[in-house]
């Protein structure tokens, strides 16, 4: 029973136990959930230990046959790429539990049970090395989020929950088809074998086949990222979700899509990825600028932050599909940063909602006078999210733009415009909510209180992480770039086999593109 299985099993156990706990007194349930999730977080810190010594490689691998007839194995492992994503989800679950201490008052038991099930699903997604197992965890994480939005959401929660579910389902069904097709051709679901077969050319997919498989996987992940045309579920899901739901959705669930792109799309279908590179990058850049522009005009705070996520994750896709070491490192690091900073943003918006029960920006004004502490924490989080140096997003954004500059400088110019726009809409939000005279309507419920101890306790670890990840990246980046190095190798070597399937001119151009100047 190595540490990873323990970290994976505990949330599931927590889910089951919470369901059994007595329904009436909520505090016992809340306390149990909090303690359990903190325990999981502390244990997951142990996962990082081997990485600090060696810097890369797969650890805590368990490879046990699970189902015989279609040969499915419980193959679970951890490498540089998924380590920090697991830690992100184990960190944010206790934070979300802490945040929704008073926020959730009806059906408390089910809420915390679903939160723990969500954590189980998320950790599973990031550590699964067997494609089928990955798909199972992908669906497992979908269900609790559907209920979180559907049951504890605001007015249009049913519409939002159904839309969220159908969107993701449509994508993941395509992926399932691709997985099964691969199984038929290769005879195994195991990711490591598959990539190995593909790399050594023993399993040769015709370029047409590979393109279709790539697109199937890509659409499933693009919906989750969300990439530009497929993003309309995100604002609705966020506006209607409760605070804890928004935090988990924005901070970790969006990363499932990006993680999938890096883990599955690049190494397994390198030729197709290279062929689709240009239009995917264009979609990403449109996403960056479009997300920022639309965020600028949103009257609703959560929608604004949701569209900002679309913009930030456009950077991630740009980084992934630049196929450079810098771009990929930046993309993965940006995934973590975005998790922290947007998670914190949603938490703070949740605090504001708890005080005034309104998400419309026009109902706010001059909040910094009655609540200076909330204003300062929001200021730091906002600055982190617009990419101020010495805070976390800057390193990610810089590396992504640097990576894309190595490939095509026009992309960098277009994407960098997003950095300006992000400053505009965030500052404008801060301006209208926190600065100026205090809006009378703020305190007609009851006096507008500043952040209390519990809320600060939830916000503090994220703020500390923002500074730590921004200033001293040595604790986080080396493992990530080691894992990315291997993925770049896999996605590069794959391109050689592309050489003979396509015409002469194209070959020179591709070889030159791949090996860079």
């Amino acid at each position: 029973m190595n540490l990873l299985n323990l970290v994976l099993a505990l949330p599931l156990a927590g889910f089951l136990v919470t369901l059994v706990l007595p329904k009436n007194n909520a505090n016992v349930i809340r306390l149990f959930a909090l303690i359990l999730s903190l325990a999981v977080f502390v244990l997951s810190l142990g996962l990082a230990a081997p990485f600090h010594e060696t810097g890369n490689g797969n650890w805590f691998v368990t490879d046990v046959p699970w189902i015989q007839s279609p040969e499915i194995r419980y193959h679970v492992g951890l490498d540089g790429l998924s380590l920090w994503l697991v830690l992100l989800s184990t960190l944010l679950t206790p934070v979300s539990i802490l945040v929704s201490w008073k926020y959730i008052d009806r059906r408390v038991k089910e809420f915390y049970a679903f939160l723990l099930l969500l954590e189980f699903g998320l950790i599973g997604v990031f550590v699964a090395w067997d494609l089928f197992l990955f798909y199972v965890f992908w669906e497992v994480s979908l269900v609790p989020m559907y209920f979180l939005i559907g049951v504890w959401g605001h007015e249009r929660r049913i519409y939002a929950a159904v839309k969220f579910f159908l969107y993701t389902m449509a994508g993941s069904v395509l992926m399932l088809a691709a997985i099964i097709f691969l199984y038929n051709k290769a005879g195994t679901f195991d990711y490591v074998n598959l990539v190995d077969l593909l790399q050594r050319g023993r399993l040769v997919l015709t370029s047409q086949e590979q393109l279709l498989l790539f697109l199937a996987f890509f659409v499933a992940f693009a919906i989750k990222v969300p990439l530009f045309p497929l993003h309309t579920w995100l604002p609705d899901a966020h506006v209607e979700a409760p605070t804890a739901g928004s935090i988990m959705l924005a901070a970790v669930m969006l990363k499932m899509g990006c993680y999938g792109l890096v883990r599955f799309c690049l190494p397994m279908f390198p030729q197709a990825a290279h062929r689709c590179q240009s239009w995917i990058v264009i979609l990403a850049i449109i996403g960056i600028i479009y997300g920022a522009l639309v965020a600028m005009v949103q009257p609703n705070m959560k929608k604004l932050v949701a569209y900002s996520s679309v913009s930030h994750l456009g950077f991630v896709v740009l980084g992934v599909f630049s196929f450079t070491q810098n771009g990929l490192d930046g993309a993965v690091y940006q995934m973590l940063n975005h998790g922290i900073s947007t998670g914190a943003l949603f938490m703070l918006v949740g605090y504001l909602y708890e005080r005034t029960h309104s998400l419309e920006i026009k109902d706010y004004g001059g909040v910094s006078t009655p609540a200076p502490l909330l204003a300062t924490v929001f200021l730091i989080t906002m600055l982190a999210s617009i990419g101020l140096p010495t805070l976390n997003n800057f390193v990610g954004e810089y590396l992504v733009l640097q990576g894309s500059a190595a490939v095509n400088f026009n992309w960098t110019i277009a994407a960098a415009v997003g950095v300006i726009l992000s400053a505009c809409y965030m500052l404008w939000l801060y301006q209208r909510v926190f600065v100026g005279e205090t809006n009378k309507s703020l305190s007609h419920h009851h006096p507008f209180l500043d952040m209390n101890g519990r809320e600060l306790a939830a916000a503090l670890p994220l703020v500390v992480l923002m500074v730590w990840m921004g200033v001293y990246t040595k604790t986080f980046l080396p493992m990530v770039s080691a894992a990315n190095q291997r993925i770049i190798e896999q996605s590069k070597t794959g391109v050689e086999t592309l050489v003979e399937t396509q015409g002469g001119k194209r070959i020179a151009e591709l070889r030159e593109l791949v090996h860079g100047r």
Binding site: V297, P389, L399, T412, I413, I420, L427, V435, K474
Partner: protein
């Protein structure tokens, strides 16, 4: 190992202490912490510079790698060479004086601890900018000072105009930083690293580019960053609005240190600029256009801080003229002297405003010479310095620039000289309106306390002796070789003549017969109004860029594209499936005969298909 990290870290410590526990401390300990941290930092600078001696080559200290990805390795490394030494002295020296002055000025303002913590944070970022040994660390300081200017301009949180000015400053700076970051990407793509040493060693052997090549692109993009930060023509609109912040902020950030970051960066990257004549011309032209335009606007303004703000923009234009003409050391020389007399001008104006209880409009001042003599005496030094009166610091540095300008392209010299005349005119106008004639205000002015006029006195002395005492070009000679050219005396006499002429004209118009300015203003009519309203540049930007962007994205992008198109498709599929379901439901009517009928129809259709196929088979 000189522990250079202490210099920026001390103000950061001041920021953290004041920021976290300042709220509970009374004003005095807060100011002590703030000033002490800057003073210690200043002391450490002096110790380091004396320890390092002649500093022929840069002294670099590596601490840890900030981030490493593939071949790109960016380290947190600080470096000191002669250029940095000059900047360090200016930043910490003038900064210290302004901190001391601020104790008096901010005594009765709310949020005392917040002000000083932001000021210390600014010092930290400015020192990081100056000490950074690679472009990225400089960029950290670059954006950091932008943040602090946002925080300090918007210090009076209750004033909505202050908030908007702060937002405007940050966004315009961000546009500049956009250019700066693009330049960095090009540098890394082509030279593989960001460290000054490596990049400049790689650039030196490269030939001077005749046409627009890589180096020109990098230089121009860096210059976009500089225009954003140092408020040059396209991106200068934020500086006049930045006067919303408290006056010590205007003095420290918008006169002495932050706005000069652009000039420092251009001087630092002189190796790149010198190899792209096109970029140099662009720098010079932008400099001269900014200088001239800002000077004309300065003449018409009535708010004393706005006058000095436009004067700062204009003087920065001069520094860029020097850089454009290749005389980087002259630019830095003017930067140093400008830091002295412009900080003095702003602090003096602050002391006047303090005396008049917040009154900033020149029309409500007058005759203050007798009421606040010390402030007048101190301001007089700055006035003479900026007007280029021989013997004062301004004269030396401005003439260096004009000489270099004449050497490279004479027409810039002539525009520069005329602008020098205008500069002398509008500063004298401000002085005469403020200190001469009869008092037009309704406050009872009182002299500022020692803690305020003390630093003013020091700055006054520096403004006077700063010129010949700190011979900056000579000190920077190893880095920027001095231009030999004949030191043409006549040019100096011309510029001095223009300066004195400007003062005389102002004296004539505002002291001898105060009526004349209104007469001229009405005579010029529309031209005057255009210049008074700052060439309507703000409104132009608003109309051309801001509103189409905002309304466009609201109407087009959000309403039509997002809600309409994409959601339309999604909801459309949902409603379509419901309607199809509805139609199919009608079939289950329950009557056997309809079932029978449909069965028969089915058979008939099947038969027909068979028939067709059979026919086909035949």
């Amino acid at each position: 190992m000189q522990h250079l990290w202490l210099i920026p870290l001390l103000p950061l410590a001041g920021f953290l202490i004041n920021g976290l526990i300042g709220k509970r401390l009374p004003n005095f300990p807060v100011s002590v912490i703030a000033v002490a941290s800057v003073a210690l930092s200043f002391g450490w600078v002096l110790k380091t510079l004396s320890a390092l001696g002649p500093l022929e080559t840069a002294h670099v200290e590596h601490y840890y790698t900030w981030f490493q990805s593939g071949t790109l390795n960016v380290g947190v490394d600080l470096a000191v060479d002669r250029l940095t030494a000059v900047m360090l002295l200016v930043v910490t020296g003038v900064g210290l004086l302004i901190h001391i002055y601020a104790i008096g000025y901010m005594a009765h303002e709310g949020g005392y601890y917040r002000f000083f913590s932001y000021m210390n944070l600014f010092m930290f970022f400015m020192l990081t900018l100056v000490l950074g040994a690679n472009f990225l660390l400089m960029f950290v300081g670059w954006e950091g000072v932008g943040l602090c200017s946002y925080l300090l301009i918007g210090f009076y949180t209750l004033k909505k105009s202050a908030g908007d000015a702060a937002k405007k400053a940050f966004i315009v700076n961000r546009i500049g930083d956009f250019g700066f970051s693009l330049a960095m990407f090009l540098v890394v793509v082509n030279f593989g690293s960001l460290d000054f040493q490596k990049v400049f060693d790689a650039v030196r052997p490269m030939p001077v580019e005749q046409s627009a090549g890589l180096l020109t692109a990098i230089a121009l993009l860096f210059f976009v960053g500089a225009t954003g930060k140092s408020a040059q023509v396209p991106l200068y609109v934020w500086l006049p609005d930045a006067m919303e912040g408290p006056t010590p902020v205007s003095a420290l950030i918008h006169a002495a240190t932050m706005v000069t970051a652009g000039v420092y960066m251009t001087a630092r990257a002189s190796v790149i600029f010198e190899r792209s004549p096109m970029a140099m011309d662009v720098v010079a032209v932008v400099g001269v256009v900014t200088a001239a335009m800002a000077a004309t606007i300065g003449i018409t303004q009535f708010d004393i801080k706005k006058v000095f703000a436009y004067s700062t923009v204009s003087q920065l234009g001069y520094m860029f003229i020097a850089c454009g003409a290749g005389a980087f050391s002259a630019g830095i020389y003017h930067l140093v002297t400008h830091a002295f007399f412009k900080a003095l001008l702003f602090l003096g104006a602050g002391s006047v405003i303090h005396a008049l209880g917040g009154e900033q409009d020149l029309r409500h001042m007058g005759g203050l010479m007798k009421k606040i003599p010390i402030t007048f005496g101190v301001l007089a030094c700055a006035w003479l310095a900026i007007s280029g009166v021989p013997g004062f610091s301004g004269f030396y540095s401005k003439d260096e620039i004009l000489m270099a300008a004449h050497h490279s392209s004479p027409w810039i010299y002539w525009v520069g000289v005329v602008t020098a005349g205008m500069t002398a005119f509008y500063v004298s106008r401000a002085m005469f309106l403020c200190f001469f004639g009869s008092y037009r205000g309704h406050h009872h002015p009182h002299e500022s306390p020692f803690v305020m006029w003390g630093p003013l006195g020091v700055l006054a002395v520096l403004s006077v002796i700063g010129g010949w005492c700190f011979n900056v070009p000579h000190y920077l000679a190893p880095m920027f070789p001095l231009a030999e050219g004949a030191h043409d005396e006549t040019l100096v006499y011309i510029s001095v003549a223009f300066g004195l002429g400007g003062i005389a004209l102002a004296f004539l118009m505002y002291v001898v017969s105060p009526g004349i300015p209104d007469v001229i203003a009405n005579a010029l009519g529309p031209i005057y109004r255009l210049v008074y309203h700052k060439y309507l540049v703000d409104e132009l930007y608003g109309a051309v860029i801001v509103s189409p962007l905002v309304n466009g994205s609201r109407a087009l992008l959000w309403r039509f594209m997002d809600a309409g198109l994409i959601d339309g498709i999604v909801n459309g599929t949902a409603t379509m499936s419901r309607t199809v379901g509805g139609v199919l439901r009608l079939f289950q009517s329950g009557s056997i005969r309809s079932y029978a009928a449909w069965v028969t129809v089915g058979c008939v259709v099947l038969l027909m298909v068979l028939g067709v196929m059979a026919g086909g088979v035949q």
